[in-house]
Symmetry: C2
Subunit: 320 residues, 2 copies
């Protein structure tokens, strides 16, 4: 057998592309990053990436030491190795990214969406270690998900399964418009932008004091809410309560589907700790069907934010 | 290798228990049934079943010719082989039914819930033949489901996954109370009893003519709605439209989970044909996330009602 002790993991985000060369013990032995933005042509982007990777590859003994590459990318499709119509990337249409990297580096390359990569990282290295059924919910600019059933990621018939951020959670006429063009999606409420919208709604319809009132309404971000809540600001705390309750109620619905052993939450909003996790747990318990009560754990990711996606992408390459 | 060309399938319903001895080509070579009701003691029920099976087993050459037995039963748990707290059966608590039959017959016995057994039957013999990702929705007295992901039934961490009848579809204050004790479950709207409730609601709040008005309000059943719709009764047709739209919208949400190749609908309500299937298809297309549009088929089960569950249970025994 060949001696190929490393894989390359790439966390491809809308702003930055982070690379790690990872060994079988999930140690990132070398890493680098480039800006994702500013490469209008994807071929030129891949060339830049290969250039940035060259010294790292040499450092571990050359490309012969590398088994393959895994990529986590928005709208990434595992089956086809393509990125399809990603709204936050500059490349439009269907981009055969796995093939481009495979041609550029001369190694096998697999690709999946970022939330799936994170779930894989969590299963192999993090809070879901050893679990065969769990659901990862990523609370970032959007709401993403990676679903593991029987120890395998759920890709569905087309490679796009696990889009729980777009489950409709509000069917009323005044439900929020989502970036996907539909109304009432979970993402419109429980993403970072959703939290900022909740802040604006609360401030508009309530009259109690809050330090958030010192910020111009349209400039409020989820970070401002986090800071205010950290100061004990009542209104900011209630924004987390509202967000957590909706997440908990919605997860109770997800349980009827795959009855997971755990939900693992990842991303900026989880930094609020108990302020958001307690409402999630309480709403989950109050709303889940009787036979499922007390069964699923509600967890926060144990992976370092900066490393989770790279490790997940690397795990994809190991699993190949 | 032993020559065991048959399995036994048992469709255990609240009223009747139907047995089939099934060969590898899904041919039911012998069948019988007994009443499920009236056996207060489960041991006595199993003894009766074994007694009823004896001549069938002799007919195919004795128990040595039988590889095993599969059971589809309400609240059946695949992992433990038990029936747990089934509201429609006389045996309360946790019943180790697989073990009781295995002891009684001397062959391996596996058990799952009735909707999962139907999904397995559909995958091996019916409309989902060859599919690796589909969702079976059973529209009967309740609403059940069997979910197949990567060619395997989804049992979840506890054996109870796939309870899509208890996804909350109405979060408003006046949502209907479900038999499970919660409010707004799909089952409270799209089961046979849900359809009868819709009929009563429509009749109460509308004033247009309908042949359903000749039936005492509290006695209306889904069968009455079917008969009226068959006569072209406008109000009855709109009951199906309401039911189908809700099913279609809800399935659009399910797709974000597992992006199935198809939804297969099974049970009494599907007899309404286009009256219910067209609203399901239209609402599904109108509500599903863009990337999933035009992908999933919306199908009616191709299995004979009376045989589907027995064949599914038998399939479980073959898969063992």
């Amino acid at each position: 057998m060949e001696n190929k002790p490393y894989v390359i993991g790439l966390d491809l985000g809308g702003t930055n592309s982070v690379f790690g060369i990872v060994d079988a013990d999930a140690k990132i032995v070398a890493s680098t990053s480039i800006r994702t933005k500013g490469h209008a042509d994807v071929n030129e982007y891949v060339a830049c990436c290969c250039e940035a990777l060259r010294p790292l590859i040499e450092q571990v003994g050359g490309i012969d030491k590398i088994k393959g590459m895994g990529i986590g990318a928005p709208n990434g499709n595992y089956y086809s190795g393509t990125i399809e119509h990603a709204p936050n990337l500059e490349w439009k249409g269907i981009i055969p990214l796995a093939k481009l990297f495979s041609d550029g580096l001369g190694i096998p390359v697999v690709l999946t969406n970022d939330a799936n990569a994170a779930a894989l990282g969590e299963m192999i290295y993090g809070a879901a270690k050893g679990m065969k059924n769990f659901i990862m919910i990523t609370l970032g600019t959007g709401v993403g998900s990676g679903i593991v059933v029987n120890g395998e990621l759920v890709y569905g018939s087309d490679g796009f399964a696990g889009e729980l951020g777009h489950v409709i959670v509000d069917t009323s006429d005044d439900a929020r418009l989502c970036g996907c063009g539909r109304k009432g999606c979970l993402e419109a409420y429980c993403s970072a932008t959703g939290v900022a919208r909740t802040a604006r709604e609360f401030l508009a319809k309530r009259s109690d004091e809050s330090e958030l009132r010192s910020i111009p309404m349209e400039q409020i971000t989820s970070k401002d809410v986090a800071i205010a809540a950290g100061h004990g600001d009542q209104l900011a705390c209630e924004i987390y309560k509202f967000t957590g309750e909706l997440l908990g109620r919605t997860c109770a619905n997800f349980t009827t589907f795959s009855s997971p052993e755990a939900y693992v939450f990842f991303g900026g909003l989880t930094k609020a700790g108990d302020l958001i996790m307690n409402p999630i747990k309480e709403a989950y318990d109050a709303n889940v069907l009787n036979i499922f009560k007390g069964k699923a754990q509600i967890l926060i990711s144990q992976l370092d934010d900066a490393q989770a996606a790279v490790l997940g992408a690397a795990a994809l390459a190991w699993k190949q």
